[in-house]
């Protein structure tokens, strides 16, 4: 078992004919992912890395029974690609694209929810279930099957931490890079819920960042609902105070969002927080 993504997942790649799409299709195939088709409007009938390309998500699903999609299309076209995939019925949508306008994300998320589609991202490294499948851009070699569920708002920092976990002889059940944008799909609390239920996951790692209140909400949820051990890391502890979104932003956060408030929330929830990324693996070893 794993969360959201398994070896049975039949994945489409939207934007497969672009540089990124092609490069990562190869890497995902190498990882063992069932990449059943690609979508690029106007390029239907061609092949990329041996994968058939279709003009629309609907075509691809009709031919290949795909149930998930990963989006590499550039930001100005990403909303269109996402809505097309959700409407066509995919149940997992991974949006790698960065710099998608927030109002486009505001349009995508409730629509996905209404159709029962789980969104990962945008602006994220994707999702990996080691030994089964990868729908993302993380380096293949850093993963090993294991019992640690990883939830992260970051990309490369996740690679760093996962690499340390793997080097220490442990492994991951699933690694979910939920993305760093203000408006995203699956959030920390939803990912925690999935890992708490997942029998293959025994321990959980949370990689957070300053800004927003996702970590505080996660900490409160852990205290009430999560029985598995959780270890956290928060990036940006020594960053100077960032720009805040006027008074309206401040009032939503009610003073939350700083590194200090996140560390305090984790402490209150009994979640150890690593000072250095490399210490996450050490803390896990003692759980």
């Amino acid at each position: 078992m794993a969360v959201l993504l398994t070896k049975k997942t039949r994945l489409l790649v939207q934007g497969i004919t672009g540089h990124q799409g092609t490069f990562h299709t190869r890497a995902m195939l190498d990882f063992g992912t069932k990449v059943v088709g690609g979508v690029t409007p106007g390029k239907g009938g061609t092949k990329v890395e041996g994968v058939p390309v279709y003009d629309s998500v609907r075509d691809a699903i009709a031919r290949k029974r795909a149930n998930a999609s990963i989006v590499f299309v550039p930001a100005p076209f990403a909303k269109d690609a996402a809505i097309e995939a959700i409407q066509a019925g995919v149940k997992l949508l991974v949006i790698i694209t960065e710099r998608i306008p927030f109002h486009d994300a505001l349009d995508i998320m409730p629509y996905a929810r209404s159709k029962g589609c789980a969104v990962i991202g945008p602006n994220c490294p994707g999702i990996v279930t080691p030994g089964e499948a990868k729908a993302g851009i993380m380096p293949n070699h850093i993963f090993r099957p294991g019992d640690i569920g990883v939830i992260s708002r970051s990309g490369t920092l996740t690679y760093e931490i996962v690499n340390e976990i793997t080097k220490a002889g442990m492994g991951e059940s699933t690694c979910v890079g939920i993305g760093g944008d203000p408006v995203n799909g699956t959030d920390m609390v939803e990912a925690l819920t999935l890992f708490q239920k997942d029998r293959a996951t025994k321990r959980i790692v949370l990689v957070g960042e300053i800004g927003g209140t996702a970590e505080e909400e996660a900490a409160a949820f852990i205290e009430r609902r999560v029985t598995k051990p959780v270890v956290a890391y928060v990036a940006g502890r020594t960053a100077p105070p960032g720009k805040r979104m006027g008074h309206a932003g401040a009032i939503i956060q009610e003073g939350r969002g700083t590194a200090e408030s996140k560390l305090k929330a984790f402490e209150a929830a009994g979640v150890p927080v690593a000072d250095y990324p490399a210490d996450v693996a050490k803390l896990l070893a003692s759980t």
């Binding site: 306008p101 940006g236 100077p240 309206a248 009032i251 939503i252 990324p277």
Partner: protein, 369 residues
């Protein structure tokens, strides 16, 4: 993109939100026919203008010129005043508050209003604040506006106008890709007119391509930050003297944290992103070198980014600019051995872990000082 008050008011007016008449000048000589009596208001991208003396009343032409002369050139929280707005003075009977923003947790727009405007909204008791989420795809429904009207206790005449402003503000919020639309105060005049006394507008940088007309606006950036922005590079100038460069926002922040925990001080923060374009790497390095750090701390975890491309970019920028500052590098990933060879040629210090690299950077800096 942050908007100066007068720029925000231009946008407000385009959406039919009532704003006081006004003129913008960058020199007292430019004042021809001010809307007297008026308020002379410093145009800077920061709050606290009033307390800093950046807002003054003027009743006569002479007053307006004097106030303008005094306010221009002032520095308010590090922001030099280059323009002032001379805005028609409105008699205010009551000050309201209205804003629209994105609630990231709910992934929905949030409308906030209060009958206690004119002060920081944080200072207003929570039970006097109206707050409601707006379903993005459905928009501002009448029940939300009924709720707002009731909570603020508005008369029907004033209520109609406030609701009209709220509708227009939401329209603006969506169509202009705003992260924040804030009207504080939303003024009610003795004659019963509702007018935006001030205007705050922040538009999502990611949507800049949909609003090219805003791209040329001055932003709250140093010249180097501006250059980086134009090249699509995330660069922030800090107080310390160690230049931190890494790939990915989280990793860059973590590298800065580790440097600070090891006793160093970050002087610049540069996120290379997921690029393996040698030109972009070189652009990024040139910007960092121009910030004149005493040491550069480079931390790359190459998943997609090829380590040798980054190393080549470093070498070329140092050569091009003839810069000879020490570089401490920790590079992991594709072609990492080739990367280390390239950097060894330019006398770079190499480390296996970020902690070691940070310690080394602190040591090299101490030796150089």
């Amino acid at each position: 993109m942050k908007f100066l008050e007068h720029k925000a008011k231009e946008v407000f007016a385009r959406y039919g939100i009532p704003v006081p008449r006004g003129v913008v000048v960058s020199s007292p000589e430019d004042i021809v026919d001010p809307p007297l009596p008026c308020m002379v208001k410093a145009q800077v991208l920061t709050g606290g203008r009033g307390k800093a003396g950046g807002i003054r009343p003027a009743s006569t032409f002479e007053d307006a010129r004097n106030a303008t002369a005094e306010i221009l050139g002032m520095e308010i929280r590090g922001h030099r005043v280059r323009e002032v707005l001379l805005a028609e003075r409105i008699d205010i009977e009551k000050e309201l508050y209205l804003s629209l923003t994105i609630d990231r947790s709910a992934r929905e727009p949030l409308i906030i209003a209060s009958a206690l405007g004119g002060v920081d909204i944080e200072a207003v008791p929570r039970d006097r604040i109206f707050m409601e989420h707006v379903p993005t795809n459905l928009g501002l429904q009448p029940y939300v506006l009924r709720g707002l009207r009731a909570k603020l206790g508005l008369s029907s005449e004033i209520g109609d106008q406030v609701v009209d402003v709220a509708r227009k503000a939401y329209d603006l919020f969506r169509k202009e890709d705003a992260e924040l639309v804030e009207i504080n105060p939303l003024a009610v005049t003795p004659e019963g007119r509702v007018v935006a006394g001030d205007a705050k507008l922040v538009v999502d940088d990611n949507a800049e391509y949909r609003h090219p007309e805003y791209a040329a606006m001055d932003q709250d950036r140093t010249p180097l930050e501006e250059e980086a922005h134009d090249k699509g590079i995330t660069f922030i100038q800090l107080d310390g003297d160690v230049g931190v460069i890494a790939n990915g926002a989280g990793l860059t922040m973590a590298t800065l944290d580790i440097l600070n925990l090891k006793g160093g001080r970050g002087g610049a923060f540069l996120d290379l992103g997921g690029t393996d374009d040698p030109k972009k790497v070189q652009d990024a390095f040139e910007i960092l070198i121009k910030a004149r750090p005493s040491v550069i701390l480079l931390n790359i975890f190459g998943g997609i980014t090829k380590a040798d491309t980054v190393a080549q970019g470093v070498k070329e920028s140092l050569d091009t600019l003839g810069a000879r500052m020490p570089v401490v590098a920790r590079i992991k990933g594709v072609n990492e051995d080739r990367a280390k060879d390239i950097l060894r040629e330019i006398g770079m210090h190499s480390a296996e872990t970020i902690e070691e690299a940070a310690e080394l950077a602190v040591k090299v800096r101490a030796e150089g000082a």
